[in-house]
């Protein structure tokens, strides 16, 4: 299908984009890579009066590695995948990115766009929440940072104000004492994950953070004490306990029960994989 008519505004700077958002607020849909928004427009699931194109705001395409790794909102998923800084400092994201869409959609799709869209099964919001990252939002009123945990409110609903623009994501650097793993199950590669699990294991502290995507409306992150070594029974018990604490939705793709079962299996796999990586240091 073809989109309904909309006014097209192409901003050349962050300031221009913010002035459009300040003036028109909720009437605006911001287009980053457009790999979700384009489909929603074409199917007329959304019919915004104004589409604000931020593809020419080149300053939003930067990746900077400092105390955290900052990725501008317009960093394309393909560019993040080939970024040495991300591979080195945010390994979990590098592990998750090949699961995001397809080769062709990663060429265009962005990190910020995926976070703004907030699909419950999306990998990028899941990794950001698991690592305890932050979303940077700007408006003509202020600049603020929101923890991913607070940002994702419900399926496709975020804490972004109507006049705000996501300008960057801040990813905590993964310490050399942290091992990570990412697993998901989808009907086919590139499909939306039914369940995705991200794991960050801090070897010294013996703590594990496990993030679950696709289960409920938003990414759910749980922290547990790591089992000592790969004790199959202990890992299995933790995975079962964890998966009992989560919210699950049922839809055409899978029932809540099936999602719980997948969450248990994938949590076990993710824990085992990260413990095995840590063993190389033992």
């Amino acid at each position: 299908m073809k989109p309904a008519a909309f006014k097209y505004v192409r901003a050349d700077s962050i300031e221009e984009a913010l002035s459009v958002l300040a003036k028109y607020g909720e009437d605006v849909r911001v287009m980053a890579g457009g790999q979700s928004l384009g489909a929603l427009l074409n199917m007329r699931i959304v019919t915004p009066p104004i589409v604000l194109d931020i593809n020419r705001i080149f300053v939003l395409s930067q990746i900077e590695s400092g105390r955290t790794v900052m990725t501008g909102a317009m960093v394309r998923q393909a560019d993040a995948l080939s970024s040495g800084a991300i591979r080195r400092d945010v390994g979990l994201l590098a592990q998750a990115l090949p699961h995001v869409g397809h080769y062709q959609t990663r060429n265009r799709g962005t990190l910020g766009g995926s976070v703004a869209h907030a699909d419950p099964s999306a990998e990028i919001p899941l990794v950001l929440a698991t690592l305890g990252g932050e979303i940077e939002l700007r408006s003509v009123r202020h600049v603020r940072r929101v923890a991913a945990k607070q940002f994702f409110r419900s399926a496709l609903v975020t804490g972004r104000g109507g006049d705000e623009l996501i300008t960057a994501l801040h990813w905590p650097r993964t310490s050399s004492e942290t091992e990570t793993a990412f697993f998901e199950f989808a009907v086919r590669d590139g499909d939306f994950a039914i369940v995705a699990v991200a794991c960050a294991f801090e070897r010294r502290a013996g703590r594990m953070r496990l993030g679950f995507g696709g289960c409920g409306e938003v990414p759910q992150v749980v922290e547990v004490s790591a089992p000592s070594g790969i004790n199959a029974k202990a890992v299995e018990e933790i995975a079962r306990d964890l998966s009992k604490q989560l919210d699950y939705r049922s839809d055409l793709l899978a029932s809540a029960d099936y999602r719980r079962s997948l969450a248990t299996v994938l949590a076990r796999k993710a824990m085992v994989a990260s413990i095995e990586k840590a063993r190389a240091y033992a």
């Binding site: 073809k2 309904a4 901003a11 970024s83």
Partner: protein, 177 residues
Amino acid sequence: MLEVEAGARTTVKFTLNGKAVKAEAEARMQLADFLRHVFKQYGTHVGCEHGICGACTVLVDGRAVRSCLIFAAQIEGATVTTVEGLAEDNGELNDLQMAFRTHHALQCGFCTPGILASATQFLNEHADASEHDIRDMLSGHICRCTGYTGIIEAISATAQNRKSRGQKNTSPEKDND
């Protein structure tokens, strides 16, 4: 800042298959429709119109992207290559297209222009593509005739031929930063 009112048109200048072109487009016009209906380049096929099937994939600045998920107004200044622009200058099929013929990589041909666009970028980036890599890239395309076997053989053979000819077709995976 560019503003195009709903229903109004804007002039879009870009490079299409090596030629500088320009035409007017309404804000909501998809690149796929712009190429087909305005430039009469019917080689770009339109399947699902929501980014799933891959039939409309073209190269924008060397990258394979869905032309149904980009609006014409967004390609101002860009370089677009469609299947019409892949052949050699003398009009002969290029090596990838020849391989598709040799390996029976198409039957009805509806998905082929999109797959050729993806494979063109993919081969530039992956000189040593494994079958798994090729399959992964192809997961972004739907072909209902071939079962993909011929397509995988054609892409794999092209990679091998380019390598054995020592043709410089690789820009090694580069860091962005």
